[in-house]
Amino acid sequence: MIDLYRETAIFLQQLVNGITIGATYGLIAIGYTMVYGIIGMINFAHGEIYMIGAFVAVMTYVVMGMLGVQSVPLALLAMLGVGMVVTAAYGWTVERIAYRPLRRSFRLAPLISAIGMSIALQNYVQITQGARVKPLPPVLPGGIHFLEETGFGVKITWLQIFIWTVTVALMIVFTWVVARTALGRQQRACEQDQLMAALVGVNVDRIISLTFVMGAVLAAVAGLIVTLQYGVVDFHIGFLAGVKAFTAAVLGGIGSLPGAMLGGLLIGLIETFWAAYFSGAYKDVATFGILVLVLLFRPTGLLGRPETEKV
């Protein structure tokens, strides 16, 4: 007979884990979707930006240790802050040297350049940081336990609560920026009509740069989250995470900010539940299988709008 309590506990635990991993995909996916929205290009180096964010988090942690910082909140804040700033600098530089010179080139040129940039950044980190995985000791151990009487027990770690809080806060801030501020209006204007945006006085190049910076900031947070959650990073993590976040962006409807969040969450949940109830080895197959299905029946993604008004 099925023990319903136990099954519920297992289900809830998977939900907790799925939301956590989904948060990272969502954060990375926003970078893809914003850049696509504004210049119509898939930034394939974005996964590498996330990987660099993870490395910067580890390095900041090591430096904090050397400085003798004992306070956990201070260490986390430093990892978050330094990670955002340094990673943003990478995001800005990538756009500047690899994409902007190709702005007036043929459509595939920046895409090829992005793939090149991705390989270059991977190799750069591999050479400067070594190919071995970098460990990070648990920064925020412990958590809340409940439903332990079921014999399984659901655990929400402090770290997961920290991750959710940071993710939700960032998404609120970014949604507000895009919907309500002058910067967000300029970004949306550039998405719709760059020439007209320039005619009302928008410095389009500057807005594109800022969009890359915003995407990189969110990727840095995702990098920090994954590092804290799994405790290891290596130069190769950007590839799969990048592909999955890209999938999340497409699933949610590329160009749509809420779509990216929703897509990320769904991908996280799908792969977690698939791994728990079916097979861990095939979780990526499940993820990409669902992507194929969604695209077959809803090519614009879940929250995307049909391309009708491109002139």
Binding site: R185, L195, M196, L199, V200, G201, V202, E309
Partner: protein, 240 residues
């Protein structure tokens, strides 16, 4: 002689290798309404866009208020006081009417926003009614009003308008032209008006230029050009 507000000297320009403008000369004095007429493909729109630096002039010079603006980036021209209402209106269709007007006010001091908004709403009351609607759902005439309103929000000294009457009902066209006259007379905004609707444009304008195949072929006062039999034959047959 007072210096012209806008002076275009021997400008060659075009998209791609073929030149749409082959040595254009014209000038506009402060406070004027000047009409630029010509048939489809004569280069009128290209000239307006070249004034705004997109495309850049390959040869020649453009002076605005005594400053050489030939190489000034497009997005800096609004701050100079040179503002365009481009062909096809190009409103931001997925933004609300209010957001479109806010985009127009991007470069002007935030203290001016309220009074400028009230002024635009006074000129076009329908925009006030529809302030929360997306630009894309407005009718053609309303979109044209929004495009002009957006341009006014940036406090232009010279307003370039490309075919504001295109595709609009005669009644709406009359309303738009009356508003242009009001903007010019009441607020001293200089206007360069590109029109295929030559009759209306020349009636409104102090002076006019006729463009054929990328060069100015004829110039004169608005009423003078209207009376010119060549112009009547080429641009006004069946019009008016």
């Amino acid at each position: 002689m007072a210096e012209a507000m806008l002076a275009v000297e021997g400008v060659h320009a075009g998209y791609g290798p073929r030149l749409a403008l082959k040595g254009v000369d014209l000038h506009i004095d402060r406070g004027e309404i000047v009409a630029l007429i010509g048939s489809n493909g004569a280069g009128k729109s290209t000239l307006l866009m070249t004034l705004c630096g997109h495309p850049r002039a390959k040869q020649g010079r453009i002076w605005f208020e005594g400053r050489d603006i030939t190489r000034v980036p497009t997005h800096d021209l609004v701050r100079c006081g040179l503002v365009q209402v481009p062909e096809g209106r190009r409103i931001f269709s997925r933004m609300t009417v209010l957001e479109n007007l806010q985009m127009g006010a991007l470069t002007s001091d935030s203290r001016h926003f309220r009074p400028d908004l009230d002024r635009v709403f006074a000129l076009f009351p329908v925009l006030a009614e529809r302030r929360a609607q997306r630009g894309g759902v407005l009718s053609g005439g309303e979109q044209q009003m929004l495009a002009i309103g957006r341009a006014l929000m940036s406090r232009p000294r010279l307003l370039l308008l490309d075919e504001p009457s295109l595709g609009l009902a005669p009644l709406v066209v009359r309303k738009i032209f009356a508003t242009l006259e009001e903007i010019n007379a009441g607020e001293g905004v200089t206007i360069l008006l590109v029109e295929q609707n030559a009759y209306h444009a020349l009636k409104l304008a102090f002076r006019g230029y006729v463009m054929v195949n990328g060069v100015i072929t004829l110039t004169g006062t608005g009423s003078g050009l209207l009376a010119n039999p060549e112009i009547r034959a080429a641009y006004l047959e069946g019009g008016g």
